[in-house]
Point group: C2
Chain length 118, copies 2
């Protein structure tokens, strides 16, 4: 059952919803960065350094959360996200490997993209 | 180089564009049906039996073609499409397996969906 925060249970995850979430360059970059970190590493939304508004950032994280890609947890004053790696590997084997093996250029507006341009 | 019909060369294919093409239920079903057929089987757009307008159908096939998922070829009076299986397997290993192993419910408006409801 989808919880009160909008996280679907593994059996509720829909592949097309996940593909749609990953089709956006910024969301793809978030998943890619989380994949490069040790499993269960938590990051705040702001730590990705995108030069976008707070509401746009929240929208992207909501899309990732509702698709089942990330789990968001409140930690004191901050809200942190981690990749639902085990759930995704069990439900859609090969999906995360596809992202892992296809690094994309940094999303426009990310600090990584800006520092590459400088 | 993208050809005059909008087919990208394998090295021009972009995974996010492909994920976006597959995130639509109707387009996902087309790819899934082509995957179930012997390699290089050609189908006309109409053979899928979707109860949608010709222009909407053309839009969906253009999206599939421009992403690199299908190749469309003129055969006398008809235009046929086949899945670019070898190109996709070489460029994005695991992508088609993901679709193959995750059959989706038939897209709304397809004759298959209508006959299931009857």
């Amino acid at each position: 059952m989808v919880d009160t925060e909008g996280h679907p249970a593994p059996e509720e995850m829909d592949l097309r919803t996940i593909l749609n979430a990953l089709s956006d360059p910024l969301r793809y970059q978030i998943v890619q960065e989380l994949l490069d970190l040790p499993e269960a590493t938590e990051r705040t939304c702001f730590s990705f350094g995108f030069a976008i508004s707070k509401s746009t950032l929240s929208h992207h994280f909501r899309t990732l959360r509702e698709a089942g890609l990330v789990q968001q947890v409140n930690r004191g004053n901050s809200r942190k996200a981690h990749l639902r790696r085990a759930d995704l590997d069990a439900r859609f084997p090969g999906l995360l490997d596809l992202v892992r093996h296809n690094p994309a250029p940094f999303a426009p507006g990310s600090t990584a993209a800006l520092s590459q341009e400088a």
